[in-house]
């Protein structure tokens, strides 16, 4: 399996939001699996850590949940993005990219001074 990266709690929330934005309503297991797939197996998620993060997002009003049936007719709790969540994803995404850009400039100073 190699060395897989653990996921920061904070970035996990953004990944969950982004996943919901891209794929539409999903249950917790689906979100976790999607995140791992999107990272091409680079990330490994302890699924248990997902639920507190989802609860937090729900309490903040970025996502909403309801019980529904899964693809093979299992009862599961589905999460979907709210309007506030959609805005939040865009905001977080922009901030994340700006921060990442700054960090990368630090990490490869050659480009910056050129």
């Amino acid at each position: 399996m190699g060395e897989r990266k653990d996921v920061w709690q904070g970035t996990l929330a953004l990944m969950a939001l982004k996943t919901l934005e891209a794929d539409g309503p999903l249950h917790g297991f689906g979100i976790g699996r999607r995140i791992e797939q999107t990272s091409d197996g680079e990330l490994s998620i302890q699924y248990g850590t997902l639920y507190p993060a989802l609860l937090k997002l729900e309490q903040e009003g970025y996502i909403a949940s309801e019980w529904g049936a899964s693809e093979n007719n299992r009862k599961a709790k589905y999460y979907r993005l709210t309007r506030a969540g959609r805005k939040q994803v865009q905001k977080e995404e922009r901030q994340w990219q700006e921060t990442a850009a700054i960090i990368s400039r630090f990490l490869s100073p050659g480009k910056e001074s050129a």
Binding site: L14, F29, L55
Partner: protein, 908 residues
């Protein structure tokens, strides 16, 4: 990317600082508290469905059923951990866990009733004692006087700029000048030094407490009469009708609360006064140095004088807003400098002001603060004791806590749990302590000596409750920290594997407990040393000779009103007839009168000049207590005559004045000479060159007029009869020596006075033994209280040592069994255990001695005839503490020798 935008380096999602979202989330979580069941249920269902989805997924990928389940579980992580962190998110974790901890703590308390009782009682002793003393300190020192903006009220005194510590009251000339010219106070009121008046015209003449006041008095204090009116400004000069304001109490007792009392007249000291007002019930103002409220406040008649003498006015003012104390002092000092220029006399060209509150409570302040400190140490010892018990319990509970940790409880979480339990017990102790304090306060008030101001105000109020709550929580926090830290430090799997026998941990617990005991021992040594010092000085104080024989002596105060005793002839005639009559009373040995009586009633100091000393203008002359006495005063009081003679009827005053001096004056100013026959001058230094020579005819023993603890003061006695003194001092103490019980002649004395003047009360009738006891009442009070606290401290420490020794021995049962099986004698085992205790005691005593030596300087002002570092006291105290600690070790140590080696070896 926009170039000039600033970025905070932060993980973006962590910045969900949108305040509204945060609040929303918090509210949901708060509401989650009430929907716990649903939350838990939802979560279980969600995890259940997650697992099924995952298992199915895995099976689709080709895993076997059991493998699929195993994989899904592993990927999920610890279900309990998930639930725990999910719960932390679901509700308000702090609040939730606090409630949970409290519930759990209460269950623990219910399960360990005996243990809880011991801890709560220990804390109750400490907290109760603190609450009691704090309520005294609060009422006497901290709480403001009962006047509006009382912190702006100041008392002014005159000072000699060269010696500003010696305060002199204002004279009339100084007061009049200051009242007119000062700019710093709203108004400046004068209060006379007199503290009582005689009410006549009633069935029995009555002595009323109260001081004459200037017209501004009530408006300076900011309190208006509840009935009638205040004095009007400018009415306090001769020519106006005399007016008086009554206290609510006297109005109720003397007039049955009759509103018509206002406008009536009463006779005080022979003058008739019109009642103009009655103060509200809560108004309180005592005479200088007195704690009781006045009954009456007559309006003063201020007669301008051509001299500053006598200095007999207490000046009270309310600072204008924006004026500081030092500005006011400069203002008044400038005025007294001018007055100094205007009138010859003593060098008093400065002024000093202090808050009225300080003037009233300043004397008892140090002693009370020291008691508060002492009682704080008692609480600290109680806290350490309980901390010790808690550490022992935490060790005993090691397994329970370890299991909880293994179940997924974080270390901090466990520490918080232990702390919560401790706080609960502390609060319980605080509640008990409050109950205890209620009775203690009553005891203290009942036992407190006269002279502690504002005693009536002492009680448990909101501030006291807040104090009690604060110290309860604080001590709970303190004794909870030790076991909480202990729990944090212990290693989980070692505890689980090795049980309580883990040696390293045991050693660590033992070290912590030993140091706690050492702290206790040293703290109690500090207290016991303080109590020992106070006790020794109290012994010395009461053992001090007052300079006379107090047995069977009785004194009383007579004061002849000027209306009926117009001149000195009337006064002399009354007193000589009175003395003749009293001498005829059966059981009376001798009787005299004097202006001052010992042990603590100095009324007058006078400068004097011995001719062999240079008279330098501006340099102050020696001062002596001066008192005027009848010839038999010395015999009645039992003062020994050392040289020369006593006064006789032949001492015909004015042209050939005579004096008797005490031994101290003789030795200090006539060293190596016989003072009898020598001449000196007394009085105002400005007049000394012109005043008359007075001849010393005798030397008597020193009498303590300034209190038993005062140094021997130079004292001058002058004859009363046949001099100008009767006109000057119409208030005299009657001093009578009885054959046996002085109380038995009291009624005969009253009868003798009534026969001569039926309107004359005989006030303050007291035996000399009572006066002596009263004069040491405050030292006795604080010695008793500190003694109680020291006893409490020592007892608590002994209990602490007992607890630790018993615990250690129970831990060493096996070792002791082995030793005894190998042939150790019981004596050797006993010695080994006692040596352990002795080591702890000695280290504690050594640390305590250092601390006690450092802190005993704080009580230097309360000591008499003994140094703060008195070696005898410290040696005795150390021995006492070591003995008590050894005794506390002995009981468990003896039990250890009863160990049956066979049983011990099988133990655990």
């Amino acid at each position: 990317m926009a170039g000039n935008r600033r970025h905070h380096l932060q993980i973006p999602v962590a910045r969900q600082g949108v305040r509204v979202r945060g609040i929303r989330a918090y509210l949901i979580r708060l509401s989650g508290l009430f929907r716990r069941k649903k939350f838990e249920h939802d979560l279980s269902r969600e995890i259940e469905s997650h697992l099924q989805l995952h298992i199915e997924d895995n099976m689709r990928a080709g895993m076997s059923a059991s493998q699929a389940r195993r994989q899904a579980l592993l990927k999920l992580g610890s279900v309990e951990n998930v639930k725990e962190s999910y719960r932390d998110r679901s509700y308000v974790p702090a609040l939730e866990t606090i409630l949970q901890d409290i519930r759990y703590g209460l269950r623990q308390i219910g399960r360990n009733r005996g243990y809880t009782a011991v801890v709560a009682l220990t804390m109750a002793l400490g907290i109760g004692a603190n609450t009691a003393i704090f309520s005294v300190v609060n009422a006497v020192i901290l709480r403001r006087l009962p006047y509006p903006q009382a912190d702006r009220l100041m008392v002014a005194s005159l000072v000699n700029v060269k010696d500003p510590s010696f305060l002199v009251s204002y004279g009339v000339a100084d007061y009049l000048a200051a009242r007119e010219r000062q700019r710093s106070f709203t108004k400046l009121a004068g209060v006379s030094w007199a503290d009582s008046f005689t009410l006549t015209g009633t069935a029995e003449p009555l002595r009323l407490r109260g001081s004459a006041v200037s017209a501004e008095f009530f408006s300076v204090l900011g309190v208006r009469p509840a009935l009638g009116r205040d004095f009007a400004f400018g009415e306090d000069t001769p020519g106006h009708t005399r007016e008086v304001v009554l206290s609510d109490r006297f109005w109720r007792q003397g007039f049955g609360a009759d509103p018509q009392a206002v406008g009536r007249t009463i006779t005080l000291d022979g003058d008739s006064y019109t009642i103009v007002g009655v103060m509200p019930a809560e108004f309180h103002f005592g005479a200088f140095g007195a704690t009781e409220n006045g009954d009456i406040w007559p309006l003063m008649q201020i007669v301008p004088r051509n001299a500053r003498y006598p200095f007999s006015l207490r000046v009270v003012g309310r600072l204008k807003s924006g004026v500081s104390e030092s500005q006011a002092r400069l203002d008044l000092a400038a005025i007294s400098r001018d007055t100094q220029r205007q009138f010859p006399g003593p060098e008093l060209s400065g002024a000093s002001i202090e808050p009225l509150q300080t003037e009233i409570t300043g004397k008892v302040r140090p002693a009370l603060l020291i008691l508060l400190g002492a009682v704080g140490l008692v609480l600290l010892i109680a806290t350490v004791n309980v901390a010790n018990l808690e550490v022992a319990r935490a060790t005993a509970r090691g397994r329970e806590l370890a299991i909880r940790a293994a179940m997924g409880a974080g270390r901090l979480r466990i520490a918080r749990q232990v702390l919560t339990e401790c706080l609960l017990v502390a609060v319980l102790g605080g509640a008990l302590g409050l109950f205890l304090a209620y009775w203690c306060v009553r005891g203290i008030v009942a036992m407190a000596p006269a002279g502690i101001p504002r005693l009536a105000e002492i009680g448990v109020d909101g501030q006291v409750l807040a104090f009690t709550a604060a110290i309860s929580l604080l001590s709970g926090l303190l004794f909870g920290l030790a076991p909480a830290a202990h729990g944090l430090g212990s290693s989980l799997d070692e505890t689980l594997r090795g049980g309580a026998q883990n040696l390293a941990e045991q050693r660590e617990g033992r070290g912590l407990r030993n140091s706690l005991v050492i702290v206790e021992v040293s703290l109690s040594l500090v207290l016991v040393a303080g109590a020992g010092l106070l006790l020794r000085s109290f012994e010395k104080l009461t053992g001090t000779s007052p300079g006379f024989n107090p047995k069977t002596v009785v004194t009383a105060l007579l004061s002849l009103p000027p209306t009926r005793y117009k001149d000195d002839k009337d006064i002399v005639s009354f007193y000589s007839r009175l003395l003749d009559r009293v001498r005829e009373v059966p059981g009376v040995v001798s009787a005299g009168i004097s202006m001052n009586v010992p042990p603590d009633l100095v009324n007058m100091w006078n400068p004097f000049w011995v001719p062999n000393q240079p008279l330098v203008p501006g340099r102050s002359l020696p001062q002596a207590v001066e008192t005027t006495v009848s010839p038999d005063y010395f015999r009645a009081l039992g003062v020994p005559l050392l040289r020369g003679r006593l006064f006789g009827d032949s001492d015909k005053g004015q042209h050939d004045p005579v004096l008797i001096v005490n031994e101290s004056l003789a030795q200090r100013y006539f060293p190596g000479e016989d003072p009898v026959g020598k001449r000196i001058k007394t009085g105002d230094p400005g007049f000394i060159p012109t005043s008359q020579w007075e001849t010393i005819v005798g030397v008597v023993g020193d009498v303590k007029y300034g209190g038993l603890d005062s140094a021997s003061e130079a004292t001058l006695y002058v004859p009363y009869f046949q001099t100008y003194w009767p006109a000057f001092s119409r208030e005299m103490f009657l001093v009578v020596r009885a054959e046996s019980d002085p109380k038995s002649i009291a009624s005969s004395l009253r009868a003798a006075v009534r026969e001569l003047d039926r309107d004359m009360p005989l006030a303050d009738l007291r035996t000399m033994n009572e006066l002596l006891a009263d004069s040491v009442a405050q030292p006795r009070f604080r010695t008793i209280l500190l003694g109680i606290f020291a006893g409490l401290a020592l007892t608590l420490s002994a209990i602490g040592v007992f607890g630790v020794m018993a615990w250690l021995i129970s831990r060493r049962t096996k070792e002791i069994g082995v030793r005894m099986a190998l042939g150790s004698s019981r004596g050797a085992v006993l010695r080994m255990v006692l040596e352990d205790g002795l080591r702890v005691a000695l280290i504690g005593v050594a640390i305590g001695l250092v601390a006690a030596l450092a802190s005993s300087r704080l009580i230097k002002g309360l000591l008499f005839g003994i140094q703060p570092a008195d070696p005898g006291t410290f040696a005795a105290v150390s021995l006492l503490v070591v003995a008590v600690i050894l005794a506390a070790c002995y009981v468990p140590a003896r039990r250890s020798t009863k160990v049956d080696p066979m049983v011990a070896l099988r133990y655990e």
